[in-house]
């Protein structure tokens, strides 16, 4: 790919501190908002008295649920066929839920006034433990829904239950294991925020927001607030990390819009860190039971999975709307497993809504962890080497395109090659010898550390998706691209995806540059403004490169074909007589006779007589409807040293071989992988949103919700194989979430390998590792007072 690892164009402003984020937006007369949140996980609201807050001299408005109810806005639809309270009216259903919205002349006054609002609550028993949510005596979370008598949201299944049961009944060996993928948080450095500016004269609503999917946001405002779509402009300026956290709408966004309408002034709300960690979309929270059937020599015959999914108080997962468990169908992972079945049950609890965020590829993170843990459990139970079990069961290159047991068609792969490369880079056999020696030394002295080696092989399914299969909020998941070519031959590309750090301004410029033979410096990439970009569903699920990237290539090729017609007119030959070499059309067989793309662009805007089929200019647009998902994959190996006396884990090495198809900018790809690997260490070893028995959130600051630092991360050892996607225009597959999907299992497998324990749930904190060594691992999701 041309210009390969060129430096990121956007870094010029980021490194100088000149990025422009939502909280940097200042509008004349702008007011500031703060949200009053529930201190209880579950309580009936008896009364809300805002009079003292309203008489604060700097307060301009106090909005309550009752006021919204009068406008029909107390509830809003979620992306998962449910509704969510905007401001609570009847009761609060999780700690931190929005109860009132204060607008004042500065953010200090807005915050001060929260303390002046008097809310009387009648506390109710909360549902905290998801595993008790369906108990007959469980309190009802959603009693406002007519006829509802329990906390059950949905049952969903994939695969053939009967065929799978038959395989299990006949199998020589079955291993079973309960696994928790705990509730974690994407924790972007930039929290959520909005500036809503409603112009009473023009009727126009301008919204600056941290939106990964600006066009989806516009559609939702139009639908919920009844504002005509052409009167809404969503602008997402620079975004400081999203990880899925910024796909959906949040109650405070809608409140800010209402507040701007009421006050006639722009209203800014910037979420604080505690609010972000407590209420903004969490991720995972899958309680899984896996069963794996195999022959005695480790050939996998079947996989059966039962999942209890904690969706919190409102079913607000952000995913294609026909997929209540996301893409959990991929739970057979990278293996040739003939029989598989899974059943997922979603439940309500008194916790914040969300569930799909944190670079999870719509639940493939959970699916991949499940199968990679189960393969290690199988190897443990059969006394086999986990690398050998994987090698023996991986899909073979000739099986692609491969239709898995749940019906998904994997596009391409050479899995054994990736695993072989990873094993070779790691020096696997030597590591195993060192492990034995170190274990022996530890057992002799009772001091020092033991080491472990963990492997994970993942297959991702990204680039959602084919529009007839996949939609969000009723919108098919096809994305547009517009390419304008100026008379000088420089270009402006407008795309519907939105970078939160992925480097679109660079990689998308490289795509156009490659196709048109111009410099990436001559390509400006526009994103994040609904008035300036074509419709599309934005950036999440690693879909930018597979969908918008494909749209970009297709539109650039359209421009090139228009340029061919113009060049033919310029050179007075037939279009078919021209041949393209990067940046110019030459007359075939006549060396030196040709025109550059710059000359063609100038001519397209000139008085040149143009042939039939070209009206002038070179501009083009397209909508790309992906024919299938793309399936990146990779082989990861983690090496850890564990101190059994304290339970402390040190990640010594991490080898990551990624195959994301053709790489546009290898440096950016490696940066994405680095971040995802760090995420994986975080989730495996420290990240957890815990609650106590009263439903109090125990991780509302970065002192309590731990993210990994550079100290916890080894120097990553990256390897590459390239298996192009057969259906993407340049063979790219996407990589944004690969490392987050693949890495947690490698770390967990390594730690458990070191201590010789079959299973213990994440996060493997020193306490959990020590307890696992003692044979008493903890249920990490339960609060200290109940569970420990």
């Amino acid at each position: 790919m041309g210009h390969g690892s060129m430096l990121r164009k956007e870094d010029a402003r980021f490194l100088r501190g000149r990025g422009r984020f939502v909280d940097d937006i200042q509008l004349p007369g702008m007011l500031h908002a703060a949200v009053l949140r529930s201190p209880y996980a579950h309580a009936r609201i008896v009364s809300v008295d805002t009079s003292a807050a309203e008489s604060h001299p700097l307060v301009r408005a106090v909005i309550t649920g009752e006021m919204l109810a009068d406008r029909g806005l107390a509830w809003m639809p979620t992306l998962s066929h449910d509704v969510q309270a905007v401001l609570a009216t009847d009761k609060v259903r999780y700690q931190g839920q929005e109860v009132a919205f204060v607008v004042a002349e500065n953010r200090y006054a807005a915050r001060d006034a929260l303390a002046l609002i008097d809310v009387e609550y009648e506390p109710l028993t909360p549902v905290v433990d998801a595993q008790q949510a369906l108990a007959p005596d469980a309190p009802l979370v959603r009693d406002e829904i007519d006829g509802r008598t329990d906390n059950h949201i949905f049952d969903w299944e994939a695969g053939d239950a009967a065929a799978t049961d038959a395989v299990f009944a006949a199998a020589a060996h079955v291993s079973a294991c309960d696994l928790l993928y705990p509730r974690v948080h994407p924790a972007p450095l930039e929290t959520c925020g909005i500036v809503a500016s409603s112009d009473a004269v023009s009727g126009k609503l301008t919204v600056y927001a941290t939106a990964q999917a600006p066009h989806a946001h516009r559609a939702m405002y139009a639908s919920i607030a009844g504002i005509p779509e052409q009167k809404i402009q969503i602008i997402a300026p620079d975004i400081g990390g999203g990880f899925g956290n910024k796909v959906g709408m949040y109650p405070a966004y809608l409140c800010a819009v209402v507040a701007s309408v009421i006050t006639g002034a722009p209203v800014k709300w910037t979420e604080d860190r505690s609010e972000n960690l407590m209420t903004t979309s969490f991720a995972r929270d899958y309680h899984m039971r896996g069963e794996i059937a195999a022959t005695a020599d480790g050939t996998i015959l079947g996989l059966r999975v039962r999942v209890l999914a904690d969706h919190g108080a409102f079913n607000g997962t952000a995913q294609p709307s026909k997929f209540p468990a996301g893409f959990f169908h991929t739970f057979t992972g990278s293996y040739d497993i003939p029989a598989a079945h899974c059943r997922v049950t979603g439940v309500y609890t008194n916790k914040a809504p969300g569930g799909v965020a944190y670079a999870c590829s719509f639940r493939i993170t959970e699916a991949s962890y499940l199968v990679e843990r189960m393969v290690d459990v199988l190897a443990h139970d059969l006394g086999l080497d986990p690398a050998a079990v994987r090698m023996g069961n991986l899909l073979r290159p000739e099986q692609f395109p491969y239709v898995c047991a749940t019906g998904w068609e994997y596009d391409s792969g050479d899995y054994a090659r990736a695993l072989e490369l990873a094993l070779e880079m790691a020096g696997y056999d030597e590591l195993r010898r060192e492990q034995v020696a170190q274990r022996q030394a530890y057992e002799e002295t009772g001091r020092g550390t033991v080491m472990g080696v963990g492997i994970s092989f993942f297959t991702e399914a990204v680039g959602a998706g084919p529009r007839k299969m996949m939609d969000v909020f009723g919108f098919g998941m096809a994305d547009g691209a517009d390419l304008r070519v100026h008379p000088s031959g420089s270009a402006v590309l407008a795309v519907s995806c939105m970078s939160q750090g992925q480097g679109h301004e660079t990689t998308f410029a490289q795509l156009v540059a490659e196709e048109l033979g111009i410099s990436p410096d001559d390509v400006e990439v526009v994103q994040g403004d609904t008035d300036r970009t074509p419709f599309g569903l934005g950036t999440y699920g690693s879909r930018s490169t597979p969908v918008s990237g494909a749209a970009t290539v297709v539109v650039a090729r359209k421009v090139r074909e228009r340029a061919r017609i113009v060049a033919a007119a310029m050179l007075e030959v037939a279009p078919a007589d021209l041949e393209w070499t990067k940046g110019r059309f030459d007359v075939r067989g006549v060396p030196g006779v040709g025109v550059t793309i710059g000359e063609i662009a100038r001519a397209a805007h000139s008085d040149l007589e143009l042939p039939e089929g070209v009206e002038g200019h070179l501009d083009a647009s397209c909508v790309y409807n992906p024919p299938n998902l793309t399936f990146p994959f990779g082989a990861y190996i983690c090496v850890v040293d564990v101190d059994p006396g304290t339970g402390q884990v040190k990640v010594r090495r991490f080898v990551a071989v990624d195959d994301c198809g053709v790489r546009i900018n290898p440096m950016i790809v490696e940066g994405q992988i680095h971040g995802g690997l760090a995420d994986g260490i975080g989730m495996a070893l420290m990240e957890l949103i815990a609650f106590d028995g009263d439903g109090n959130h125990l991780g509302a600051s970065f002192m309590d919700y731990l993210l990994p630092t550079a100290v916890e991360c080894p120097s990553w050892e990256l390897g590459t194989t390239v298996t192009p996607s057969p259906h993407h225009p340049i063979g790219a597959k996407g990589v944004g979430e690969s490392a987050t999907v693949g890495s947690p299992a490698a770390v967990v497998n390594a730690v458990l390998d070191a201590i010789g324990v079959r299973h213990a749930d994440m996060p493997l904190t020193p306490a959990q590792v020590w307890r696992a060594v003692q044979g008493r691992p903890m249920r990490t999701d339960l609060a200290v007072s109940d569970g420990w």
Binding site: D23, R107, D272, R273, M703, L706, E712, T765, P766, V784
Partner: protein
């Protein structure tokens, strides 16, 4: 962004000025040193002082001085300064061990040792270290200075003997130990301790421990006097160090939280006490 409630602010020009301001403005006044505990608490509105007295201009409190038999540390010595002092590292390695695991470089650049001990967080790393070393706090009020042993300095979580119109000015650390060490287990670099142990020893002929100080972090009490009493006068054998750890574990009072359950913390108190003693004895040799 988290924003604090309204407060007034004054910069003190001397310790006496600070004491006068504290006296004048009453109990809702707080001294701010490095501010790395107080300011976050104010932003979370867990603390809402009406007045802050900034003592960052008081260079008189920033000295590190080695006098015969005693190390004198001004209350405004920054963590980074303590860690940067080779002399301190040579005399009292326990302080460098502890400083290396306090928060992160940004906090250590600004945070002060006086601020840390006055915050009196039960998980604070220096408290156990100073208790093990039998340091003495010098506290100044309108009536002059008073000296309080660090072992009597802490009266409860986030509570000390420093009065509302008093300022901690100095920590005096007697140089009796021949070897010392601090070991901490945390969930991540920069996190508060799950548990930690500080040890200081002086040894005599035959490897007998003539004096010992053991301090604990985050397990309910900073002291492990029972373990000290066990070890004092006994030889520093592996078996005795393990037994001292067992005694320390037996007498600590951990509570369960997200960092770990009680049994684990109790185990750590013992394990880390033994390991810190082992390292202190090695360093004494």
């Amino acid at each position: 962004m988290q924003v604090p409630a309204h407060f007034e602010y004054q910069r003190a020009t001397s310790v006496e000025h600070a004491i006068a301001l504290l006296t004048r403005h009453g109990p809702e006044t707080r001294v701010v040193a490095g501010g790395h505990s107080l300011i976050p608490m104010m932003k979370l509105r867990l603390a809402q002082p009406e007045m802050l007295i900034d003592i960052n201009d008081l260079g008189e409190l920033a000295g590190i001085t080695v006098a015969p038999g005693v190390l004198r540390l001004g209350a405004m010595v920054r963590h980074a300064d303590l860690l940067g002092s080779a002399q301190v590292g040579a005399l009292l390695p326990v302080l460098h061990d502890a400083e290396r695991v306090i928060a992160d470089p940004v906090v250590r650049n600004r945070g002060t040792i006086g601020g840390s001990v006055c915050q009196a967080d039960p998980s604070e790393d220096l408290a156990g270290a100073f208790c093990a070393l039998r340091a003495v706090a010098v506290i100044r009020g309108a009536d002059g200075d008073r000296a309080v042993p660090m072992r009597e300095f802490f009266t409860g979580p986030y509570e000390t003997v420093v009065g509302p119109a008093e300022v901690l000015v100095e920590l005096r650390v007697p140089l009796w130990s021949a070897g010392s060490a601090y070991l901490k287990v945390d969930r991540r670099s920069g996190d508060w301790a799950v548990a930690a142990a500080a040890a200081a020893v002086a040894t005599g002929p035959g490897g007998v421990v003539t004096e010992v100080g053991i301090g604990l972090t985050a397990v309910g009490r900073f002291l492990a006097e029972e373990a000290e009493d066990f070890l004092r006068g006994r030889a520093a054998t592996e078996a005795n160090l393990v037994e001292a750890g067992r005694v320390a574990a037996q007498h600590c009072r951990p509570t369960a939280d997200q960092r770990g359950p009680v049994d684990y913390k109790r185990h750590l108190a013992g394990e880390l006490t033994t390991r810190a003693l082992r390292l202190a004895v090695e360093r004494a040799a």
